[in-house]
């Protein structure tokens, strides 16, 4: 019932610009943030509990859990100790953020380059017609995106070079495919929303029947 009322209210508020409907989005976003902030305590406690259990029980790979607990406590204590300005440049929290958190995140992100290479290697093998099409399209897009592509086709008139072909592939076949997916997603979202609002779909609230 609550889901239905809130869902219908949101649908209606999209079409009614009058107060209070035009404020619904902001109000619900505020409430969601408040609930989210409260729920983070549950998440953090769960993480600490599971890690502590591993450390105390000396379970396999308990060292990682010890690092989690120590890191968690360190950043939390420093954050609270430095008060409201904990994110200001020059604070210990900021030092940890800039010199530990950002490099660690950047390291994970940079691994993506290697994964793209290995995934591309598998994806671009010409196993069948579709895969061959993908391989050919990918070749032209990649070569059209680098300066050497236009150097190779420099003798061709503008509009017929590799960069133009790459742009054409991206602007037409690629955009058409992506839009088809987006239309499907839009309909899927409406359909799922309707199922949730009508109470047909209740698995997400722990009640399949």
């Amino acid at each position: 019932m609550i889901t239905a009322i809130v869902g219908i209210t949101f649908v209606v508020s999209y079409f009614i610009p009058h107060f209070p409907f035009n404020r619904m989005d902001a109000w619900f976003a505020d409430w969601f943030s408040i609930i989210q902030a409260c729920a983070i305590v549950l998440g953090a406690l769960n993480l600490l509990k599971l890690s502590a259990q591993k450390v105390i029980g000396q379970k396999k790979d308990w060292g990682y859990s010890a690092v989690i607990i120590l890191s968690f406590l360190l950043i939390t204590v420093i954050g609270f100790a430095e008060g409201a300005d904990y994110r200001d440049p020059g604070t210990s929290f900021d030092w940890l953020y800039v010199n530990m958190f950002i490099p660690l995140s950047a390291t994970m992100f940079s691994i993506l380059a290697f994964f793209v290479a290995s995934a591309s290697y598998r994806a671009f093998r010409a196993r069948n017609f579709e895969a061959t099409l993908l391989l050919v399209a990918a070749f032209f897009v990649m070569i059209g995106r680098v300066p050497v592509g236009d150097v190779i086709t420099g003798f061709m008139p503008v509009g017929y070079r590799f960069s133009d072909l790459a742009n054409w592939i991206m602007d037409f076949p690629q955009t058409a495919g992506q839009r088809a997916i987006m239309i499907g997603i839009g309909l899927g979202v409406v359909s799922t929303s309707l199922r949730v609002i009508l109470g047909i779909e209740r698995a997400h609230i722990g009640s399949g029947e």
């Binding site: 649908v11 999209y14 079409f15 009614i16 610009p17 009058h18 107060f19 035009n22 969601f32 609930i35 989210q36 729920a39 983070i40 305590v41 549950l42 998440g43 953090a44 769960n46 993480l47 509990k49 599971l50 396999k60 990682y64 660690l104 995140s105 994970m108 992100f109 691994i111 993506l112 994964f115 793209v116 290995s118 995934a119 591309s120 598998r122 994806a123 992506q178 997916i181 987006m182 239309i183 499907g184 997603i185 309909l187 899927g188 979202v189 409406v190 359909s191 799922t192 309707l194 199922r195 009508l198 047909i200 779909e201 698995a203 997400h204 609230i205 722990g206 009640s207 399949g208 029947e209």
Partner: protein, 390 residues
Amino acid sequence: MTAPADTLATVDSSAILHTPAPPTNVAAEDTPNDGGGAITVTWSPSPDDHEGGKVKGYKIIRAEYDDGKPGEFKEVGDVPAGKTEYSNEDGNTTDGILYLYMVTAFNRMYDEAGSLLEYSSDSEQSDPVTSSAQWFNMTRINVLAGVVLLSFFIIYFIQQAKAGKDLYIRRIAGMEAVDEAVGRATEMGKKIFYITGLGDMDNMQTIASMTILGRVAELAAEYETYLDVPVCRSLVMVTGREVVKEAYSKVGRPDSFKPDQVHYLTDDQFGYAAAVDGMFVREEPATIFYMGQFFAESLILAETGNSIGAIQIAGTAMPAQLPFFVAACDYTLIGEELFAASSYLSKEPKLLGSLKGQDVGKGIILVALIIGVVLESFGIWQLSNLFMVK
């Protein structure tokens, strides 16, 4: 005309030359289809508003109008030359109060001494106007019609399904493989990982993911295979626990459920990716599901899963991540299939009926697209305009 007092004497002779003609037909009206607090001003451009002309822009001047008398005029905004409309979309008018508007065409230049000179001419005043809120946004009537039509078909087919009518739903390979994937983990005596992505519970993809999680948890409970659900949002953890608990109860194994099966890691994108990757490598699960909203971490996770030889089924409505999942996973639910998956898995007539309604909606859009393309090719654009959303 306005110019710095100390320069007036020297520039007076050139003032007539540089002052633009004022705009005409200034009209102000309540901005339609809004929540109030906004007025739209329109005008006919100054005759000097053209390429190389004297007009550099227009200033919008406003005064409150009380007891039949205008108050002090103050500048409330400006627009560049060529524009003939201004709307205070930041909502800085008060509903119910009358306002008068004037539009000033201005020209700016530097004199020989480097001083900035401005020449301007004011339009006539507009009629008094007030802003107000509307109860329906007429620009969205096409969306309303679309929602009503789609809802009608969905509800119609749900009713048909309830009445026992057999509905054909095309096969979704990724969903057909769920049983096989869970069975494989059981045979190998290894874990199943279910990754819900970065979305929170306000995201429709996460809600769809939760419904699929319920079906996967039922199978895992039935086969007595450990299901591990590391999440990166606390609310998803709370919801996921309820879903998994319910699934275990449904198949008569409530005692097998452990709340810590669904556990929180971190809200940080790459921290989460690192933690999950570590778990994959250390625990070598037989099966991994990725269902929900994914960003750059999608390939980091899926390639790691691929490297340990796990059977992987992914589903997301993030078009940019789909190629990565297609490349690295055994099966991928593309876009709408993610939202259809829970209905497909449950085989409940009511849910399948909604899928059928969704397909009819897709058919209507397809027909409209084909007709629209043909009409646009002949320069007839009215049909395309019907689908425009402001």
